[in-house]
Symmetry: C2
Subunit: 221 residues, 2 copies
């Protein structure tokens, strides 16, 4: 966003560690928000404020994983997709449609080319066990990166253009996000996807949980 961050990377790290120690929460997330600062008209840029906060968040249960999620598609391109902002205007506006369609979330596309969910990345597993995820016009999340790394040791992975039609030929599909880890997609619009809880998604999910555990043990040492 071309805003100036007043702290260095190392300083941020130590502030975050202090915060974690003081709050002593389990299963929580750190949110770092950089604002445009206090300006008289609420629009012009001023001295940015940096807010670091820690929030408890519920982790999906094994039941959530087994149930999977249903998505609807919607034509929309997020503005400045590569920047993590708190702009969820379109996603909020679509909540009533998502509810009406008894879905869990929305999957954005442009002319049939898939990008992402409002706060999660999208993957498919093809019939020949290739793992594909969109490459362009998305926010490349940390969990997306970790899953790509994990998957690369067991499968062929590729970041490439995925169309709505490709979903209909996919054997599995799933989303990734920091708060949701990996959740299988069982339906996109009217199309049911071969039970998403099956082999590949499940294998990656187990690997991600194991990576998380290893990381936590390393931190505790």
């Amino acid at each position: 966003m071309q805003l100036n961050v007043s702290k260095k990377r190392e300083e941020l790290g130590s502030i975050i560690y202090d915060l974690i120690e003081k709050n002593n929460l389990s299963h929580s997330g750190i949110k770092i928000t950089l604002t445009g600062g206090y300006s008289t008209d609420g629009y012009a840029l001023a001295k940015p404020n940096l807010v670091i906060s820690q929030h408890l968040f519920p982790v999906p249960t094994q039941e959530n994983f087994e149930k999977g999620i249903k998505l609807i598609t919607y034509s929309h391109q997020r503005q400045l997709p590569q920047v993590k902002t708190i702009d969820y205007v379109m996603a909020i506006w679509l909540q009533s449609l998502i509810k009406e369609k008894r879905a869990d979330d929305v999957l954005y596309h442009t002319n049939g080319v898939i990008t992402e969910c409002p706060r999660a990345n999208f993957f498919i597993v093809t019939k020949d066990d290739k793992i594909l995820t969109p490459a362009d016009n998305i926010l490349k999340g940390i969990t997306r990166m970790k899953v790509l790394e994990l998957a690369a040791s067991d499968y062929e992975v590729e970041e490439k253009q995925i169309s709505i039609n490709d979903i209909q030929n996919a054997r599995e599909a799933f989303i990734t996000s920091s708060t949701k880890r990996i959740l299988p997609i069982v339906q996109v619009d009217d199309y049911r996807i071969g039970k998403g809880t099956s082999s590949v998604t499940s294998h990656l999910h187990k690997q991600l949980l194991a990576l998380e555990k290893t990381h936590l043990l390393q931190m505790a040492e």
Copy 2:
């Protein structure tokens, strides 16, 4: 935004009059913000909060009007343009480019078709004194509406598609907004527009100021 407003229109009116009386400010604006409410994850919809605030704002001087403003064009379509939101992500991101080009604001277009500025509507005056303003994919501001009404008694006015090319054939161009009223545009990208302070823009500006005065006198009675 499909959010529920807890107050009726009349209640809102009386709250605003109370606020104006208590604050006793001159040249100020009322900002009504409806939020998604307090939710545990800062995303899911909760009970909306309604915040009404009054802010002093500087009114453009006669000097500002005579100087006019310079715009740069940028390809972007605001999401949900018909809804007044506080999403100015793209406008904020463009501030450094606007500064670099020594411009005052940005004018959005899609494939050369003009829509609006981030917080203002756009008008041109053609060589035969027609007044044109975009009709679609914009926020139809109150000042835009008032100016269209005022202009209709003296000029031919039309809400229609305006292209970047049309600007080069325009005799005058101006923006309208609640805080800026009417400001002549003297340059768009590298194209200088016949001094915007000339006849039609100036005439409409005088009429708008007169309308404002009449309205204030009526309120004071």
